[in-house]
């Protein structure tokens, strides 16, 4: 019988994307276990992944495989059980200031207007916080420009509950970007949106990335999203999550939605889907086979 570890292709994983420069974000043999003793859950089991500075990596995998967990570890919100995460060369042990995060739900603070939600990081993150009051006018202008860039012109004074889900998700993207983080950790930011809004926001995100070139780690369960946006697509196995495949996406940018209909994109999609199906089959088999 095949060894479940076999699909882990050593080659593409060991060569970091921006070969030569050290990776900006590096997971090294990361294991994460929730809880202790009898009801412990092994969420992630031995993940190693390098993300080069300015790269755009998408992480796909079946639900519950530990994608959100991995992002939370990178953000310093959850500790590793073993292994290390390096960000800019330093071990992540707690939240870092140069990180922008967007969560699976929009997580707007309901008592703050949209504008004040977007401004929040500037009130907290050093060095912005010390000059938040002094530069209030400039900050507001910046937040409004950012809101306008995601199609939310003039809604700054509205409360989150007055916005649709898609609008809230856009605003949460602005909040992740306002302090100009070097790295963006995005957890299925478009998961809850309708197809049209989602595709529109893909374009918005691509444009933002092309302008500012932050490092992006995007978690998604949508293969089309991963292929459209990312330079690299990393596939995880069912829980406990391991990396089982990686795919380079070399389409020129800016990418168009029509690109998704090309034979090449179709082939990549096929391959990825095959890996994921493969993975879940293995998962089921392993689970059934074990005493």
């Amino acid at each position: 019988m095949l060894n479940p570890e076999a699909p882990v292709a050593a080659d593409p994983l060991d060569a970091p994307a921006g070969a030569g420069s050290p990776p900006f974000l590096a997971f090294q043999d990361v294991v994460i276990e929730y809880g202790r003793g009898a009801n412990a859950t092994l969420a992630v089991d031995g993940i190693s992944l390098d993300v080069a500075d300015g790269d755009f990596v998408a992480l796909v995998g079946p639900s519950g495989c530990g994608k959100s967990t991995l992002l939370k570890v990178a953000a310093g919100l959850v500790p590793t059980s073993s292994g290390t995460v390096l960000l800019g060369g330093e071990t992540v042990t707690r939240p870092q200031k140069n990180v922008g995060m967007a969560f699976q739900s929009a997580t707007m603070l309901p008592w703050r207007t949209t504008l004040r939600n977007v401004l929040l990081p500037l009130q907290i993150v050093r060095p912005h916080r010390s000059k938040f009051r002094r530069e209030k006018a400039a900050n507001i202008k910046k937040a409004e420009a950012l809101l306008a860039s995601v199609g939310l012109r003039g809604v700054g004074s509205k409360y989150p509950w007055q916005l649709s889900g898609g609008m809230q998700q856009r605003a949460s993207l602005c909040r992740a970007l306002i302090h100009e983080p070097e790295i963006l950790l995005l957890d299925e930011p478009f998961g809850a949106l309708d197809a049209f809004t989602r595709e529109e926001l893909w374009q918005v995100l691509q444009q933002l990335w092309q302008e500012k070139k932050p490092t992006v780690l995007l978690v998604t369960h949508d293969l089309r999203e991963a292929i459209y946006l990312a330079n690299r697509v990393v596939v995880m196995s069912a829980r406990p999550g391991r990396i089982v495949h990686e795919e380079r996406i070399d389409f020129p940018r800016p990418r168009r939605l029509s690109m998704m209909f090309s034979a090449e994109a179709g082939a990549i999609m096929e391959r990825l889907r095959g890996k994921i199906d493969h993975v879940s089959l293995f998962g089921d088999e392993a689970a059934a086979g074990e005493p």
Binding site: P95, M101, S157
Partner: protein
């Protein structure tokens, strides 16, 4: 004229109708003034003794507000601590439940032994009576704060205190303000209890003396005034609540 227009006045109409029926009943059945004075009689007493009553009312108001402020502060702090930390909750909760189960009137003699009669025991009684409801509410608000919202702050590198300030406290504010309306009315109860036992000034004292003098209309005037003060303070905190935590109402009018 729609019913919506007069709806705000329903409560006033209701009060007037009740007082009217009361007046009518007393006159119709010729009830003795020593048992149940008619509204006209105790309103008369209220106007007649206005200055004397205000002397006592001032004291009651002042005592209540100070006691309320102390109680709410303590209740708020305890509530945040108990809501944020499981061990704090498990440590202090049983003791507080026990303490709250003791009738507050039983505490007054102890306060009098410690501080003498007068304002201090009244302030303390008024304070201890409102600690608990504030604490329970605030603890509920803190404990139900969504972890995701805290993560938003934590991911930005916010300290525990900042997370408390930017997320936990605003998130618990609706619970806090809801408890204030209950707490202020309880505070009046605490003050008056203490005043009836050990004080020489305050509405409680005035009512005890009036009943010793068989001045029943004055007793009822005192009751009426207490009710009025309670309503005013309740309304005051309801307005503040609407201003501060209007976002919970999700009423489109509020935002703009």
């Amino acid at each position: 004229m729609t019913i919506e227009r007069i709806r705000p006045f329903f409560s006033v109409i209701f009060a007037v109708v009740v007082l009217g029926l009361w007046e009518l009943g007393v006159r119709l059945f010729n009830v003795s003034i020593f048992i149940l004075p008619a509204p006209s009689q105790f309103f008369g007493s209220l106007i007649e003794n206005w200055h004397g009553i205000m002397f006592h009312a001032e004291q009651t108001m002042y005592t209540t507000v100070i006691g309320f402020a102390i109680g709410v502060t303590l209740g708020g702090i305890l509530g945040v601590a108990a809501g944020a930390s499981r061990s704090v909750y498990q440590t202090i909760y049983p003791a507080l439940v026990g303490f709250y189960s003791v009738p507050k009137v039983a505490l007054v003699p102890i306060f009098v032994i410690w501080f003498g009669s007068g304002t201090v025991p009244a302030v303390l009684t008024s304070a201890v009576i409102c600690i608990f409801p504030v604490m329970v509410n605030v603890a509920a608000g803190v404990a139900t704060t969504e972890k995701d919202l805290e993560d938003v702050l934590r991911s930005l590198g916010a300290s525990m205190l900042e997370t408390l300030w930017y997320v936990v406290i605003p998130r618990s504010a609706p619970y806090f303000f809801a408890s204030l309306k209950v707490a202020i009315t309880l505070s009046f109860v605490g003050t008056v209890i203490s005043e009836t036992v050990a004080a020489n000034r305050g509405i409680g004292t005035m009512m005890v003396r009036a009943s010793a003098d068989f001045d029943v209309p004055l007793v009822f005037a005192g009751l009426f005034l207490l009710a009025a003060m309670g309503i005013v303070m309740y309304a005051f905190f309801a307005v503040i609540e609407g201003r501060v935590v209007g976002w919970t109402k999700r009423d489109v009018d509020f935002a703009t």
